[in-house]
Subunit: 416 residues, 2 copies
């Protein structure tokens, strides 16, 4: 039952107030490794609290907050990833300390004073920019998601991961700041016939991807800022290419070189990896734009609803092709759908928080969310997606996620 | 000179590219206390970088980034404050670790499992909410500023502080998440005649302020989230009252009690403090809404422009009464003004980033910004403000800030 929320006193009945909500994954508050533990004050009004640090300090989170990224168990750590704890997320911003990671050769340690970006190839003037040069140029800020195209990769065939962190945690949102790539390219002077740009990272993988010149001249950003401060090391410090709406691996981190050409470079990452094998044996390549996708983050896998009664269903939706225009929620496995509320402002190519009140009657249920973006594209069911793409694809799984609610309140990942 | 930025090759001449920009306050990169220092890789493409932590971890910033809050030198630490390094800011989000602090009795350490909020007084049903109860209610997120009404307090008479961190650093912006206070008040049932609410903190100061009931029922939020995770301890963990646009001290931290009444409570903070003494000996009280204000953060005090040439002037503007509708910039001490670009989306009662290209001709200049909000209110000059309020006011200094650029590029705080 999806109740209205505005009528006085109608919302919670009586049972819900006073009830506690437990997540089995986070049962006991336990300080994370390295956190400073302060003695809890039995009556904090009766004794002076901690004072401000001498140097003003750089704050850290409470000792009672213990969400961490989760490292996926890859065979080797040479190339690995960690996932954002989406179940603990609120609003649309991902804390920089919890932004997902995907490294192909580890996190390099780069001195920004020695780092530079070279722009060459089919340009009138090859240029080299130090970080100081780039920071002196006109800047822009943009709040947007980055999603790894491998997000959900283990879920094509059958449900394997228990939590939303596992199934969907390779997507995060930040407010990014930097220089429009077009500003730099106009300065270098793009020659006639230029059609692609190679972006190259300074990591041990020398990560490289080809980017269409139209995208580069449209909304691509050379980013040095994330959530109001410098990029985090795991996100490419000191410089990262941002391609709003494109798959995460194209947002080249530790960016050091841009080469302009008339054709794509067919790098290792666009031949061996990051293509999508179809049932007919052909592979889709340069599937750069992320399709519209949504997931319910509360309630989600491995939680337990303690009692029947009122809950707010909440989650995130996003599209690499524009704004989210609607999210619908089903509590009966897709038979009937109700419109969720979208958190304003809804931003282009950005996580959009959705919310909907729900009264759980204590019986089995299957919760799903389905989003639509401004191109009119509707998030498909897994059956529809598999029908179109087969199950050899590793990347670009954007199907509707189903969470089963058992009669005892346990929430689990299912395919329906 | 304010140039256009869109013409190819016209932007930088030649001199600016390759030039380095120095801030005298932050000359050398030096790892802040406690930062883990990793060896810099001379060629980071030739050796594997750091791997992801076993537990996935909670990331920290680069060892080369050293901005800190600055503790104002108060006589005692019982009641003190630290300021956000606005000169290093980008976009509109303040990193949670750099959000300004203002404590009247230090930072209490509160176990969220033991914390609760009491709602009583002129209500039908007195209620107690645990943190779990509150998190189960319908939630909202809102990106907004909080500004201490004492921001700039030393600057009424003459310029005293050298940097924008000192003059304006008691304002910060976060994406906050929590429950609308109206949701809780509707549940308790407000009685006829109720006009004010007392909000009380669980800190050693037992900080208390009275809030008009109309504000409480409009957009006030019981916040438990900040920038996608739990509130930081310095910001009231586990619960803070948010009053969008109101002076910072009313956003009661470590919130534990709300009492509904028919009149204001005339607490210590609204008699001894947080009133504005006028030239005629009378005091303005309950000056709750923050007036529109703006400041240029680049270039700003204690920086040095290394050479004449192209710069992007950048700063923030905000109003407690709605959206910022325009920011103008003067380079001649207020004789002529030019319109700055506002970063989209412009949000209600939120920092708004503004930017404008500028070519410095190498001669003395005075840079100023002046904002207008959607009520039509225009940020006043200091002379206009002093004429209206005198110089006995400590709070609510929102005058236009002037930065003097010397012929050698040094930037300093001046009154013109």
């Amino acid at each position: 039952m999806f109740p209205g929320v505005s009528r006085r006193g109608m919302l919670f009945g009586g049972a819900a107030l006073g009830a506690s909500l437990l997540s089995s994954g986070q049962a006991a508050a336990q300080a994370p490794p390295g956190a400073i533990e302060y003695p809890v004050q039995p009556d904090s009004t009766k004794e002076q609290g901690r004072v401000i640090l001498d140097d003003g300090g750089y704050g850290s989170r409470s000792q009672f907050e213990n969400e961490l990224r989760w490292r996926y168990p890859t065979d080797s750590l040479d190339s690995s990833w960690s996932l954002t704890p989406l179940a603990a997320g609120m609003g649309i911003i991902t804390p920089s300390g919890l932004h997902f990671e995907r490294h192909h050769g580890g996190i390099p340690t780069i001195d920004p004073e020695k780092h530079s970006l070279i722009v060459h190839g089919m340009v009138d003037k090859p240029l080299r920019f130090t970080m100081n040069d780039l920071k002196r140029l006109p800047s822009v800020s943009r709040t947007m998601f980055i999603e790894c195209s491998g997000n959900g990769l283990s879920e094509w065939d059958k449900p394997t991961l228990k939590t939303v962190q596992g199934t969907h945690g390779l997507t995060s949102t930040s407010e990014w700041t930097g220089v429009l790539l077009s500003t730099v390219l106009k300065e270098a002077g793009i020659q006639d016939g230029a059609a692609w740009i190679l972006a190259e990272g300074a990591d041990a993988a020398v990560m490289t991807r080809s980017v269409p010149i139209d995208k580069a001249m449209d909304d691509a950003i050379l980013a040095y800022g994330q959530n109001g401060e410098a990029l985090r090391p795991e996100q490419g410090y000191p410089l990262r290419l941002l391609l709003p709406g494109y798959e995460g691996n194209t947002h080249i981190k530790w960016l050091r070189r841009l080469e302009i050409s008339d054709k794509p470079f067919m790098t290792r990452e666009e031949t061996l990896k990051y293509t999508d094998l179809m049932p007919d044996g052909k592979a889709r390549e340069f599937t750069l734009e992320m399709d519209a996708k949504s997931v319910i983050t509360f309630p989600s896998g491995a939680m337990r609803l303690p009692t029947p009664g009122f809950y707010e269903i909440s989650g995130i939706a996003w599209s690499g092709r524009g704004k989210i225009t609607g999210v619908e929620i089903s509590a009966d496995g897709g038979k009937t759908w109700n419109k969720a509320t979208l958190q304003e402002p809804v931003l282009d190519k950005c996580h959009t928080r959705f919310r909907m009140p729900w009264i759980w009657d204590g019986r089995e249920a299957v919760l799903q969310s389905r989003c639509t973006d401004e191109t009119g594209y509707v998030q498909p069911t897994l059956a529809e997606l598999v029908k179109a793409r087969g199950v050899y694809s590793v990347y670009h799984l954007n199907a509707i996620q189903s969470w089963h609610i058992a009669a005892n309140g346990e929430v689990s990942n299912v395919h329906v």
